[in-house]
């Protein structure tokens, strides 16, 4: 469904992606792991056209989408829940959802989607006319996801949806992601909660300094000592850190 080949993205002269190739099949939940600054967010931004790749190609449903404007890409069925939620704080919850469905011109269709999404997130309907900036972190994340679901995307890009949430809310967000996955939405997930993300993912890519370093299923990645060390809390780095603390 999504295919990236040899993508290189620059911020000015700084190269953030050094030839990234990855694929997502229909119905899959694919996860991208990597340290801070590895380029995970850049991958998602490049897919939906916020940043343009200098080299390489991106295909979505066999149509080339690199060098398309974001609005065209979104129209084709990709929605993006950005890092740090990026809800519109001065708009109300309902207005945020209205923006999520900006591309829906048909009033009835909009009403139908709106019903569906708010039924899925009852917290939001309780706060419908509240300014989104006054919501709690967890509610804001729900709103960000709900907003992206207004278009019923074929592919949903999620950038660290559990960032800054309490363990209980992290659990809730992961349940939502799993539900969406089971409902058939294809998902590309960037996460720091590696253990949890890999458990629900069909496939994972490990990114270091803008390059794909490893890829595989949870079991395959688990076999890799480096991954365990760096991300799964079993390596010598972690043990050393624990020693240090105690």
């Amino acid at each position: 469904m999504l295919k990236m080949v040899g993508v290189e993205t620059f911020y000015g002269k700084i190269k953030a992606l050094h030839g990234v190739s990855l694929g997502v099949e229909k119905g899959q939940l694919v996860c991208i792991l990597g340290a801070n600054g590895a380029g995970k967010t850049t991958i998602l931004k490049t897919i939906c056209g916020i940043t343009e790749p200098e080299y390489g190609t991106i295909h979505f449903n066999d149509e080339q989408i690199d060098h398309k404007d974001p609005e065209e890409i979104i129209k084709m069925g990709i929605s993006h829940v950005p890092e740090n939620r990026r809800i519109f704080p001065e708009l109300t919850v309902n207005e945020n959802l209205l923006m999520g469905g900006f591309l829906i011109k048909d009033k009835d269709l909009f009403a139908e989607r709106f019903e569906k999404v708010t039924a899925h997130f009852p917290v939001l309907s309780k706060r419908s006319s509240q300014q989104a900036g006054t919501l709690s972190g967890g509610e804001q994340q729900m709103l960000a996801i709900a907003r992206a679901l207004m278009l019923e995307p074929q592919l949903l890009l999620l950038d660290e949806p559990s960032l800054g949430l309490s363990p209980k809310l992290v659990q809730e967000i992961f349940t939502i992601i799993q539900d969406l996955h089971q409902a058939g939405v294809t998902i590309l997930l960037v996460e720091q909660n590696v253990n949890q993300a890999l458990k629900i993912a069909d496939y994972g890519y490990v990114l270091t300094s803008g390059k794909i370093f490893l890829s595989g299923t949870y079991d395959e990645l688990y076999e890799e000592e480096k991954v365990r060390e760096m991300y799964l809390g079993e390596g010598k780095y972690v043990r050393r850190a624990r020693l240090w603390r105690s």
Binding site: G49, P70, E71, I74, P89, L91, M99
Partner: protein, 309 residues
């Protein structure tokens, strides 16, 4: 004492009318600032162009229709509005788009150049002489008690209210209006919603041109003479915007109106009764501004942070 009160009331109405013009300029200015962080130094020139273009249309249409009448003003006004829309689109193409990836500072410099170019071009096209603008209402007035009110002033106030009501409705109730607000706070997130932000910016420039031109159309009949110096009234948009709270749209409108009232009263009644006020007429606005900022550093409608960083 009664005379003083009458004078004050009369000046207040006239001050509100003048303030409405400031409010329109400050509104256009704030709109662009909120959406693009660009301080548009040409907002006063947009108003000046509006005044001239309307004058041109009035002259042309009165030739066609045989004399100046109601229809002439109406058609001229419609013509000016169409002009404003086209002008806004043009500005988007020559100022906004080519410079979209450049630092905000470059765009601000471009608006300064634009201001100078517009002033010179207008002077070249219209010739060096001042024009005598006509008013659709002549010097007609009406009385409430002993307070004499100019119909022109009232019509300026009504036009401004109508315009602001339309904008209020647009920004709060329509899909595109809310999308413009969303784009102003977070363009990248707006793009992720599929909002075509290029079109949003074009709308912003069209609106700025519209309020500028309409401001000019409304202001010109108040002036004894029309020359390119009226563009300097545009500089009042700054104290107006700061007074109301920089970046706040209601603030810009209220700030503009307060400014108009203060200016008119200080030049009228206050100067008449207190010799020293006459001396400080030119700076009274700035004094008020400093006092307000001392009490409320973010202005009357101040929002401490305009943009998410």
């Amino acid at each position: 004492m009664n005379d003083v009160l009458t004078g004050l009331l009369q000046e207040s109405v006239s001050g509100i009318a003048l303030g409405c013009i400031y409010a329109l300029i400050a509104f256009g200015f704030t709109l662009i600032y909120r959406a693009t962080e660009v301080v548009n130094f040409a907002q006063g020139e947009l108003m000046m162009v509006g005044a001239y273009v309307n004058f041109f249309f009035v002259t042309q249409f009165s030739g066609v229709l045989g004399g100046v009448n109601f229809w002439v003003y109406l058609f001229a006004f419609a013509g000016s509005i169409i002009f404003a829309i086209l002008f806004g689109i043009l500005l988007d193409y020559i100022i906004n788009r080519p410079l979209k990836d450049e630092p905000v500072f470059s765009v601000i410099m471009a608006t300064i150049s634009l201001a100078i170019i517009l002033r010179s071009l207008t002077a070249i096209i219209a010739g060096p002489i001042s024009l005598v603008p006509a008013s659709p209402f002549g010097d007609n007035t009406f009385n409430i008690g002993s307070v004499v009110i100019s119909i022109l002033d009232i019509s300026i106030i009504i036009w401004t209210i109508v315009l602001m009501a339309i904008f209020y409705f647009f920004f709060n109730k329509t899909r595109w209006g809310i999308a413009m607000k969303a784009t102003s706070t977070d363009p990248e997130a707006a793009q992720l919603m599929g909002i075509p932000i290029k079109q949003v910016y074009r709308f912003v420039w069209i609106f700025a041109a519209l309020v500028g031109v309409i401001g000019g159309v409304l202001l010109a009949p108040r002036m004894a003479l029309l020359d390119t110096n009226i563009s300097y009234l545009g500089l009042k948009a700054f104290p107006a915007a700061i007074l109301g709270g920089f970046g706040s749209i209601p603030g810009a409108v209220v700030g503009g109106i307060i400014l108009g009232i203060i200016e008119t009263i200080s030049m009228g009644t206050l100067s008449f009764h207190f010799e020293w006020v006459k001396e400080i007429n030119d700076i009274i606005v700035w004094i008020v501004l400093i006092v307000v900022l001392m009490i409320r550093p973010n202005g009357l409608f101040g929002i401490a942070k305009v943009k998410r960083v």
